[in-house]
């Protein structure tokens, strides 16, 4: 049985279809990665149009609250096995938007992330490197983010609901004048 799993994992690592959700600036470095200079199709990674067909969800940059909702929908529509790549500093800790009222801070509080790519913005080499790393992880059976999501579903759901389903103001309305900054 384990040999069979190894074979399956080997082919899964060699053929990964990617859905790049252009959540932010990072979308601009993807065309070079796909096209002639870096050509990620060499590794069997092809962009796909719909979440149903995709194995990798590439989150390219910061997520506004409104986007987070769509990303969660997208992630839940994907079929296992599925992996998430967080692209850019913004997905790690909010990056340059650390104090923004509309940008979430840490992506893996809401969906499990298998690999983060640091930088603002990461170069295409970094993206390819992360794909190769993900391939190794998949082939060694280490990339199990989707199983973690199922196991810890309540934890993730609670985090998501806190941001998305607000029923009362987050801050108390301050009437007096406060000094900003």
């Amino acid at each position: 049985m384990s040999e069979w799993t190894e074979i399956v994992d080997y082919f899964r690592g060699r053929s990964m279809w990617m859905l790049h959700y252009c959540t932010g600036c990072g979308a601009i470095e993807l065309p070079p990665t796909m096209t002639s200079r870096w050509d990620m199709e060499r590794f069997g990674i092809t962009p796909m149009a719909t979440p149903r067909q995709a194995d990798i969800l590439l989150i390219t940059g910061y997520l506004a609250i409104k986007t987070l909702k769509r990303v969660i929908y997208t992630y839940e529509q994907m079929q296992p096995p599925k992996w998430v790549l967080g692209f850019g500093s913004c997905t790690i800790n909010g990056g340059i938007y650390w104090d923004s009222y509309n940008v979430i801070e840490r992506l893996d509080k809401y969906i499990p992330v298998d690999i983060y790519i640091a930088g603002c913005m990461p170069r295409p080499e970094a993206i390819l490197d992360s794909f190769v790393k993900l391939k190794e992880m998949v082939q060694n059976g280490e990339a199990k983010g989707y199983e973690k999501y199922v196991k810890n579903y309540e934890w993730y759901k609670a985090n998501q609901d806190k941001v998305l389903k607000r029923t009362k103001p987050v801050l108390e309305r301050i009437e007096k004048v406060t000094k900003i900054g």
Binding site: V8, F11, R12, R14, S15, W17, T35, S36, D39, E41, R42, F43, G44, T46, M48, A49, T50, R52, Q53, D55, M78, Q79, P80, P81
Partner: protein
């Protein structure tokens, strides 16, 4: 002894299916490589499609109801059935005296089955995509029918093995020499049948997010891929049998198929996509004109001049 014969036929049938699938996947892989080179890329390995299919079949999948499942089976089985009537090189599994009609009919059935399945998913994108695919089908089936008519009239038979046999004895006996206009029409039709640009309206990713396939995932997409690969083999194969004189063995057969497909890929690389009504009206103009002209020529040659 009937049982032994049945078992032999069954295993042969499986063999043909596997062969067609492998050839289709390989063609797809080579096409991706050619495409990459035209686009100044290195491209994936040509075995990439096999890996993709294996991965898809090992993936989890979501069904959208019984009609969805049934539709995919209905899209996939007639395609395999049609394969059994096709002379592949010297070999035909079920020789039948109306195999041409049989294949054309079963191919159409397969697409209709597919349509039923994807419409059951309820996604408006797949509905639009399928309506486009059917509209396109209405476009290319008409010139295709005209060409089939010429073939019928010329060969006086719908028995594919016999049509192949009539073309034996060298290049000058091939139908491509005798009916060049018909061949031209059929090559254009092939572009549409395979859904390659400029006729890929049905799966236009940038317009309707890959159309009929939008809700297919995992194993379902895997079956879709199998269907496409078999269709690729079948559609190029039938043109080889009709116009390129069949083949004495399997390798020459797939070499001829590949030549046909190569032209399709090259055209695919340089042209963008038409609008769907433009594509349909294009099919009703140039290829239909060529097909009808060919039919008229054949009628005059055969009926009036008795050549």
């Amino acid at each position: 002894m009937v049982i032994v014969e049945f078992l032999i036929k069954l295993s042969q049938g499986f063999g043909i299916g596997a062969l067609a699938l492998a050839t289709g996947l390989l063609f797809g892989g080579i096409a991706r490589k050619i495409m990459a080179r035209i686009q100044r890329r290195y491209g994936p390995p040509f075995t990439q499609n096999f890996m993709d299919l294996f991965k898809l079949l090992s993936k989890g999948s979501v069904s959208h109801g019984w009609a969805f499942d049934l539709g995919l089976v209905a899209g996939f089985v007639p395609m395999l059935a049609a394969l059994m009537f096709l002379p592949i090189g010297p070999f035909t599994l079920f020789p039948s005296d109306s195999s041409l009609i049989m294949i054309v009919y079963l191919m159409m059935m397969a697409y209709l089955g597919m349509a039923m399945g994807v419409l059951a998913s309820g996604n408006p994108n797949s509905a639009i995509g399928m309506s486009r695919a059917l509209m396109l089908m209405a476009g290319y089936e008409v010139p295709f029918a005209a060409v089939i008519f010429s073939i019928y009239f010329f060969s006086k038979t719908g028995y594919l093995t016999q049509i192949v046999a009539m073309q034996s004895g060298g290049f000058m006996n091939w139908n491509i020499v005798k009916m060049p206009l018909g061949f031209l029409a059929v090559e254009i039709v092939l572009q549409g049948m395979l859904g390659e640009k400029p006729f890929d309206q049905a799966i236009a990713p940038a317009e309707i997010a890959s159309g009929p396939m939008v809700e297919l995932g995992g194993k379902y997409l895997g079956f879709g891929m199998i269907q496409h690969s078999v269709a690729l083999f079948l559609e190029t194969g039938i043109i080889v049998d009709l116009f390129l004189g069949g083949a004495p063995n399997f390798w020459i057969f797939i070499a001829k198929q590949f030549v046909l497909y190569f032209v399709v890929v090259l055209v695919d690389a340089i042209l963008p996509r038409l609008r769907v009504h433009e594509a349909t009206s294009f099919f009703w103009k140039l290829p239909l004109f060529l097909g009808i002209l060919q039919a008229v020529i054949v009628i005059i040659q055969g009926g009036v001049l008795n050549v």
